[in-house]
Symmetry: C2
Subunit: 158 residues, 2 copies
């Protein structure tokens, strides 16, 4: 037998996919981070918080739910929401039905900031990712990463 305890290493295609994913991910984040910071004074994470809030009913979300959507730690979210509060872009509101609960809420100023920051961000996402790929590539990407994400979400909460 050739592989008693030998792990199955990645072949050339598999390695290309994996390396491509890591590299593209790092490069994209780096670039978007720079653009958002220079253009609007926001970090990518802060921008994403605003996006998720604005997409939520009542422009507000529970902290835990928001942390899940963002795929970040609860403590990390606590920190960032505090930052956004200081900037006047978000606010905390206590939950009526659960004393422990806290809603993060988008302020008018936060909505305005998003309106101002979104176009430049979306344009860059287009320029660096979306418009670089064909329609078919995009479709495969969406389905593939959707599958991967779904699978990861599952054994995350067993």
């Amino acid at each position: 037998m050739s592989s008693l305890n030998e792990p199955r290493w990645l072949d050339q295609d598999e390695m290309a996919a994996w390396r491509g994913f890591v590299v593209a991910s790092n490069l994209l984040n780096r670039r978007l981070e720079r653009q958002l910071k220079e253009d609007s004074g926001l970090s990518h994470q802060q921008y994403e918080i605003l996006v998720h809030l604005s997409a939520a009913p009542g422009d507000s979300l529970r902290m835990t739910e928001l942390a899940d959507k963002l795929v970040t730690s609860k403590s990390g979210l606590t920190y960032q929401v505090t930052q956004l509060e200081r900037m006047g872009l978000a606010a905390r509101r206590s939950c009526p039905s659960d004393v422990r609960g806290v809603f993060a809420e988008l302020t008018d100023q936060g909505r305005e900031m998003l309106r101002q920051a979104a176009p430049g961000h979306v344009a860059l996402v287009r320029e660096l990712l979306i418009d670089v790929l064909t329609r078919e590539q995009l479709a495969v990407l969406a389905e593939s990463l959707g599958t991967v994400s779904a699978r990861l979400r599952l054994d995350e909460t067993p």
Copy 2:
């Protein structure tokens, strides 16, 4: 005209691809980070440094070149190489042809650590990404992200 200054927002497919990318990227990093830390006491970044060094001729790379491959900041690399030095997994060696230059070099202990850590890491990458996708999806992913990365590398150094 429907769009004087209106940005081209992302349609459903495009949004799915972009969100999928962000979410999958975060979830994967989070998971791999945990596994590596628990299994070998390494961060993903430290692991990647060892990998790149072991793949380089002479098991060593110049700091700047390594930072490029890792897609990280020079100062960040300085920090991590120092950490690896303290763990005995890497060492610094000055460059003969350039007094300013510094080589990061893999130590025997570092090679051994990699030999021990790699199987578990690769297995998880397989389980979470590679083996979840079909051969076609993998091929498309590799080519797409390859293109994206290449494009990003270019206007990074103009």
